[in-house]
């Protein structure tokens, strides 16, 4: 096979592999969901990208990233970009060493990129800037000294486009290029001048041009908001390895060539040397496959998938996927609670899942932070707690400006509130996005009161929303639920969340006080956990002589279960802690077990967190 054909076969195989992996396993649409990238043809949005070094590349990446909402397109684009990186690096090696067979070496940066993207916390822009830097380095390597000096003069422009970190990366590659070709005075002089220009560009930017800190000027990678939850971008050893791999490989390749020159032998006659490139290339692809499959952060992927399913109201799937998450996650618990509510089993199955943070898994915003604000807004919108949903969406926008989900929510809440000029503002913005334009067109009817009322979902929100004014109680959401029920006593979700709150807080008296409200709703039978709480309350109330719950039929099996529970506790000499191990298999999914095993004390863990992002 000729070298050209081998090239084609190898890179086509890598591309297909990447594409299939992304399409069926990694799923770029999840990356989209995690980052919610949006690009607007809007003056303010675009000018916002020009006010810091690195913004232009950020904008360019956002433009491509927005299409990742379609898994197929996202896979196609990301696979192309990753292959582009491999090809450009291949070109670099060819230019520097006239080496045409070293395919496997070109895959090494790709390994690190796959490792990083498999954590779902790195935006597209990192790969894009990496690609741009490699492209600039190839151009540099091909050029003569005159063009190189022109490139040196143009470095501030490159700095402005890609930002500090990637500009430094470019300077390091320039050094590696010179060191790997020949070591002369110019090998050090030009890179030194590039480094000096980089430092000057960064310093002048921070001092005179942009309002950025020195750290941001020198080492900007991606927008700071991505360093916080829910993204939690971290500079890991793999991240450093990605950037060091390129210059190191160039230098190592030079050493390898020097060694092979010294020990030159007849390669054609040697079987191993004849097939070595094929074997190493196959090995390199196998390593790629292994990295793809072994490094995938399946839990993170599932968590994002659950949030995506919740956003599209696929509640049964949320419940199924939640069972497969190995480590506890508050957002997963929150979405599971929502899913149980929509599936009509919240008060029957609430304690089928763990509640390590108690009621803070039911309502997220008792401790407010922008990163949970949008999801908190989702719940409030479900509950028809329109102003709370709106407040949370605004809070979310503070850090995640131009997030299309927040804009859509604000269109809806403002329209439901009858504030059409505010809704129009957000619709105008959505119309400036290629991806969200159609949503904006479909929802233009929201600006018309008559048409708006024709929509049953909106009409329902209007019926259920607060009629009487009160202050929002994010720390005591039960009060909000009560107020919503006062406005409309058919708001079943508000009732279920109210009861779930009391159950998780182990406030039996409150459960008892509001139990009669269940009659307003079409329950086929009284929810199991309410029965459990009611029995517990009755037995306690009898002892202390409190008022009993009247007219509350308890099913026989629940009553029998309670007797059995008491028997086990009695058998363990009323030592609840001792009885726990015997109770868990039989009663682990009951309110009783939750109460005995610590009850409402568990949300203390969350209160003790030191950093906002540790949720």
């Amino acid at each position: 096979m000729s070298n050209k054909k081998a090239h084609l076969v190898f890179f086509t195989a890598v591309y297909i592999l990447l594409f299939l992996y992304l399409l069926f396993i990694s799923k770029p649409s999840l990356l989209y969901f995690q980052f919610q990238p949006a690009f607007y043809f809007d003056t303010h949005f675009l000018s916002g990208l020009l006010i810091y070094p690195g913004g232009l590349a950020d904008g360019l990446s956002l433009f491509f990233f927005q299409f990742f909402y379609q898994n197929f397109v996202g896979s196609l684009l990301l696979a192309s970009l990753l292959l582009g990186i491999v090809l450009v690096f291949q070109a670099q090696i060819r230019i520097l060493f006239q080496e045409k067979t070293a395919f496997y070496v070109t895959l090494i940066p790709l390994y690190f990129l796959i490792l990083l993207y498999n954590d779902y916390n790195m935006p597209l822009v990192v790969a894009l800037k990496f690609f741009l830097v490699l492209l600039a380095a190839v151009f540099y390597s091909r050029s003569g000294n005159v063009i190189r000096i022109a490139l040196l003069c143009g470095l501030p422009v490159l700095y402005w486009i890609i930002g500090g970190w990637f500009c430094l990366f470019f300077v390091i590659i320039v050094l590696a290029v010179h060191l790997s070709t020949r070591t002369s005075l110019i090998s050090f002089l030009l890179p030194a001048l590039f480094f000096l220009t980089y430092c000057l560009s960064a310093f002048i930017s921070a001092r005179f041009i942009f309002q950025i800190s020195l750290k941001e000027a020198f080492l900007y990678i991606i927008p700071p908001k991505f360093y916080y939850e829910p993204i939690l971008f971290k500079i890991t050893p793999q991240f450093f390895a990605l950037f060091l791999s390129v210059p190191l490989l160039l230098l190592l390749w030079r050493i390898k060539i020097n060694i092979s020159k010294k020990f030159k032998r007849s390669e054609k006659s040697n079987f191993i040397f004849l097939y070595a490139p094929i074997i190493t290339n196959i090995f390199a692809v196998l390593v790629l496959c292994s990295i793809m499959l072994l490094s995938l952060n399946r839990d993170e992927k599932r968590k994002i998938y659950i949030s995506e399913l919740a956003a599209t109201a696929q509640w049964d799937k949320v419940l199924a996927e939640a069972k497969r998450v190995s480590a506890y996650d508050r957002i997963v618990e929150f979405q599971t609670n929502r899913a149980m509510c929509f599936a009509g089993c919240l008060l029957d199955s609430l304690f089928c899942i763990e509640h390590p943070v108690g009621v803070d898994g039911l309502f997220l915003d008792r401790i407010i932070a922008s990163q949970i604000a949008m999801i908190a807004s989702d719940l409030y919108f479900d509950l028809a707690h329109i102003n709370a949903a709106q407040v949370m969406a605004y809070e979310y926008l503070t850090k995640f400006s131009y997030d299309p989900r927040a804009f859509k929510r604000l269109v809806l809440t403002n329209a439901i509130n009858g504030q059409f000029s505010k809704a129009e503002k957000f619709l105008n913005l959505l119309q400036k996005s290629i991806v969200h334009k159609s949503w904006a067109k479909q929802h233009a009817f929201l600006l018309n009161e008559e048409k708006l009322l024709a929509d049953p979902a909106i009409r329902e929100k209007r019926e259920f929303m607060a009629k009487r004014d009160f202050f929002l109680h994010s720390k005591s959401p039960n009060l909000d639920m009560l107020a919503l029920l006062e406005s409309n006593n058919h708001n079943k979700m508000a009732f279920e969340y109210l009861m779930a709150y009391y159950l998780l807080e182990c406030k039996l008296g409150n459960v008892a006080a509001h139990l009669s409200m269940f009659k307003e709703f079409d329950y086929p039978s009284i929810p199991r956990h309410l029965q459990e709480a009611a029995i517990m309350y009755q037995s306690g109330a009898r002892r202390i002589g409190s008022e009993l719950i009247a007219d509350f039929p308890v099913q026989v099996f629940v009553l029998n279960n309670f007797r059995q529970l008491n028997r086990i506790i009695a058998k363990n000499k009323y030592d609840a802690q001792k009885a726990m191990q015997f109770l868990k298999p039989e009663f682990g999914d009951t309110f009783w077990y939750y109460l005995i095993s610590g009850g409402a004390e568990r949300n203390d863990a969350l209160k003790q967190r030191k950093v906002e992002s540790l949720y």
């Binding site: 809007d42 309002q211 407010i368 004014d469």
Partner: protein, 507 residues
């Protein structure tokens, strides 16, 4: 060479003709056209940037002729966006200064069919407005913040720049920027959360102070520079925020306690008095230009939130002698009982004749209260009245120009969501002209702009202190202010007597 010359000449003529084409025949419309922003029947300063606008009338082409005293500008547009060349505009305003100017708007409705709308007549004042306005730009969120900054806009052009952005200062919060007598060289602003402190910028010198003491409930909050430039009156507050559940209301900001203090910049000392540190809620001080009278607002002691909508502030006056550190009697100027509303943001005009304030149903933080309107108190005649500039939506925080002829205020009238800046002229009788929106190069600027213009302050020139220098100083520890040892009460609301043996770490 000759051919080239002719070509240039012909091309020039063609361009000239295309720019100044005349409309031979047209119909007339008896109404004025709708334009956005509404720059009709306004009084404008002779140094304002071009008032670009959009003609909101259906048409295929548009032509606007600005005329004033022999001067004429013609602007043509295909889509109704009218952007006036700045050089021509300046000459035009110069010619029209102190007189009227007209806008004739022609709209092409069909093939060769033009319609001329009723002429718009504006007036150009002879008094210029201060050249710059400083404001904070902040997202419309309520509790959290991320990117924000203090910005300045040159009103004579479209240039806007950041005085300080919090990208430089660890994304902290910054607020309450204030100037002494509209002087850009005497500025202060607070930094909150990270790098907290009060930045004082005076004639190029930048200081960072901590105005909080063990005897004040907070660091200084709402400031008012003394005309002498050596003292700042502050309120100290315990501020809280609630959100309404009902569709018509959004946010409610309130204090559970507040007192007044005065900060002596030279002595780096905080002082107060039992007269302004009572159980009542003393707040938002403002100096009379005479440097003696201190106006502020005051409400009864906070009990709980159940009657939040009954908390109403009175307008009060006291005197303070900066030389002797003596306070005068506190007297009511205008009570909530008399007005039936709550008074807030009092600001005395530079000549001391008028006091402009905001009134709303309740509370003092009116930027979220739709009932908030601007009022004017004539201090010479003890008479107050509602200004003509108000709208159905929020009309709130205002500031005077250095000569007291112009004022700027924040209003949410445009979309109900974001505060925008409006300017108006106040005549000798205290009548305000129809307000006009801060002009932008692109008249569609506000359509998708999501940031709020917050606390506008007019100043006579640009703030020259560099962002780098301010940020460098911001990273240093603040200098703690001392509490006046001659004052025997604290400003922890209620003027508790300070025990003689109590340690005073900052003395």
């Amino acid at each position: 060479m000759k051919i080239k010359k002719h070509f240039v000449l012909v091309l020039g003529m063609l361009i000239h003709l295309s720019c100044t084409f005349t409309i031979p025949d047209y119909g007339t419309v008896s109404q004025q056209p709708t334009i956005d922003p509404d720059y009709r029947d306004i009084l404008l300063p002779p140094n304002i940037a071009p008032l670009n606008f959009i003609i909101k009338e259906e048409g295929e082409a548009y032509k606007v002729i600005f005329s004033a005293d022999q001067k004429r500008i013609e602007v043509n547009s295909r889509n109704g966006t009218i952007q006036i060349p700045i050089k021509k505009w300046r000459k035009f305003l110069k010619a029209a200064s102190g007189a009227s100017c007209t806008l004739d708007i022609f709209v092409k409705k069909g093939r060769n069919h033009w319609e001329k709308y009723k002429t718009i007549t504006n007036r150009v004042a002879s008094q210029p407005i201060d050249s710059h306005v400083v404001f904070r730009l902040i997202n419309p969120g309520y509790v959290l913040w991320w990117d924000l900054g203090i910005y300045q806009r040159d009103l004579t052009t479209f240039r806007q720049s950041a005085v300080l952005s919090n990208r430089l200062t660890k994304q902290n919060c910054m607020n309450c920027h204030a100037f002494c007598l509209n002087n850009p060289n005497s500025m202060m602003l607070h930094m909150r959360a990270q790098l907290g402190g009060t930045m004082l910028i005076q004639n190029g010198e930048i200081k960072k102070m901590n105005t909080g003491t063990p005897y004040t409930m907070s660091a200084g909050v709402y400031p008012a520079w003394h005309p002498g430039g050596k003292h700042i009156a502050f309120s100290v507050n315990k501020i809280f925020q609630n959100f309404h559940a009902h569709a018509d209301k959004s946010t409610y900001v309130y204090d559970t306690a507040s007192d007044l203090v005065i900060y002596d910049i030279e002595k780096n000392q905080i002082t107060t008095s039992p007269k302004v540190s009572t159980k009542r809620l003393e707040n938002l001080p403002t100096w009379d230009p005479n440097g003696k009278d201190l106006y502020f607002i005051s409400a009864p002691e906070f009990v709980n939130n159940s009657g939040y909508d009954t908390i109403r502030y009175d307008l009060m006056r006291t005197t303070y002698d900066i030389n002797t550190n003596e306070w005068g009697k506190v007297r009511p100027v205008l009570t909530a009982e008399a007005t039936g509303q709550s008074i807030t943001f009092p600001k005395v005009s530079p000549k001391g004749r008028f006091l402009m304030f905001t009134m709303s149903e309740h509370g003092y933080f009116t930027i979220y209260t739709r009932s908030s309107d601007l009022w004017l108190y004539d201090l010479t005649q003890n008479h107050y009245r509602k200004l003509e500039v108000n709208s159905d939506d929020v009309d709130s925080y205002h500031s005077w120009s250095s000569d007291g002829k112009w004022f700027v205020f924040a209003s949410k009238r445009k979309d109900g969501l974001c505060a925008r800046l409006y300017f108006s002229y106040l005549d000798e009788q205290g009548h305000a002209s129809k307000p006009f929106l801060l002009p932008q190069k692109n008249p569609r600027y506000y359509e998708t702009y999501l940031l709020n213009y917050n606390v506008p302050e007019l100043i006579t020139g640009p703030v020259r202190a560099g962002h780098w220098d301010i940020a460098q100083r911001a990273y240093l520890d603040p200098t703690p202010a001392a509490f006046d040892s001659t004052v025997q009460v604290d400003a922890l609301s209620g003027a508790t007597r300070i025990k003689p043996d109590e340690s005073r770490p900052y003395l």
